[in-house]
């Protein structure tokens, strides 16, 4: 039964469909805010905790810092990364009923782990493609987390819909499903259905993955 479940959830099985979905149109909340604004982001789950903040110097560039704790599924391996980050809006399409973006992400910092001594320099280049309307959301995010002897590349695919079209000053609930995989720490694809609430500058996601682990995402733009 477990083997069958693993087969169903195996990355190779879902990758083409999820990739197609992401290409057709995916979006994640923007990883930076408007010019001269701060964006604070935090995620908490059993195997992943991070907190980061960035400041938008221009409409297309933000710089910041973040800290991430990652743990393997069997709890044997853990990593702590502290990094300086840069976020660049490479391309935006503003359409009458939709918006699509190409984001370039990058970071450089120090990673430590419980299976090696000292710390190593880690670089975390990546990108995000997203597409969003007032009712549909989709995003693909890839981060290539590399250090000497370490490869924790991460790929996340998200898709969902809002329950109704809300006015600007009303809270808007969404249903989002994310499939995420991280090389070298988890051999399983984590699938998390989430309830998302957006209310102006506040963004909250609450979900439970297939291992019954609770996950929380928070974003605040000010």
């Amino acid at each position: 039964m477990r083997g069958r479940l693993q087969h169903v959830l195996s990355w190779n099985r879902w990758y083409p469909a999820l990739l197609l979905l992401s290409v057709m149109g995916t979006a994640q909340a923007a990883p930076m805010g408007f010019k001269d604004s701060w964006m604070v982001m935090a995620e908490n789950s059993a195997s992943w905790q991070d907190i980061s903040a960035n400041y938008a110097l221009t409409p297309r560039w933000a710089v910041g810092a973040g800290s991430t704790f990652m743990r393997s599924d069997d709890k044997a391996i853990s990593r702590t990364l502290t990094e300086a980050t840069a976020t660049h809006l490479a391309k935006r399409w503003n359409m009458p009923e939709a918006q699509a973006n190409v984001w370039l992400l990058g970071g450089v910092g120090s990673v430590s782990g419980n299976d090696f001594s000292g710390s190593r320099t880690m670089v975390t280049p990546g990108f995000q493609l997203d597409y969003e309307t007032t009712r549909i959301y989709s995003a693909m995010t890839a981060r290539f987390n590399r250090a000497d002897g370490l490869n924790h590349d991460m790929l996340s695919l998200r898709a969902g819909f809002s329950f109704y079209e809300a006015d600007y000053d009303e809270p808007q609930p969404w249903f989002i499903v994310e499939a995420r995989r991280m090389n070298g720490l988890s051999e399983a694809t984590e699938v998390t259905p989430m309830l998302r609430i957006i209310h102006k500058r506040y963004f909250l996601e609450l979900g439970v993955n297939q291992k019954n682990e609770v996950r929380t995402n928070l974003m605040l733009n000010f």
């Binding site: 909340a29 408007f34 010019k35 409409p59 007032t134 006015d167 808007q172 963004f203 733009n221």
Partner: protein, 109 residues
């Protein structure tokens, strides 16, 4: 006749200030405004303008409206610049003799 003249003058005198107080707003049609979390940058940037009295954002109708403070000047270029800096594209701008409340009520009809 004198009474009619006096009455007319009184009515005109009362109406003139009302006319002077009639609100002026700049209304923009904006592409890409799909999410309140992202679009709140528009509201924040426009609200910081000295001449802006009230700012209204309507995602469904892709509309942003700024009511100008009485006696102050605000041009369309400034509005377009602030919306563009917030990351969106302005496709239409118009100056209207309406308050934001009126525009809101009109759009909700």
């Amino acid at each position: 006749m004198t009474k009619i003249f006096t009455f007319s003058s009184l009515v005109l005198a009362l109406l003139s200030p009302l006319h002077a107080w009639s609100a002026t707003s700049i209304k923009a049609t904006v592409n890409g405004m799909v999410c309140a979390f992202c679009a709140q940058g528009i509201e924040k940037r426009l609200s910081q303008l000295d001449a802006a009295q009230t700012v209204f954002v309507d995602l469904k109708r892709k509309t942003v409206a700024v009511q100008i403070k009485e006696g102050q000047a605000l041009d369309e270029k400034t509005i377009a610049h602030e919306i563009t800096e917030a990351g969106y594209d302005v496709v239409k701008l118009e100056r209207v003799n309406q308050s934001v409340q009126d525009i809101k009520a009109q759009l909700k009809k």
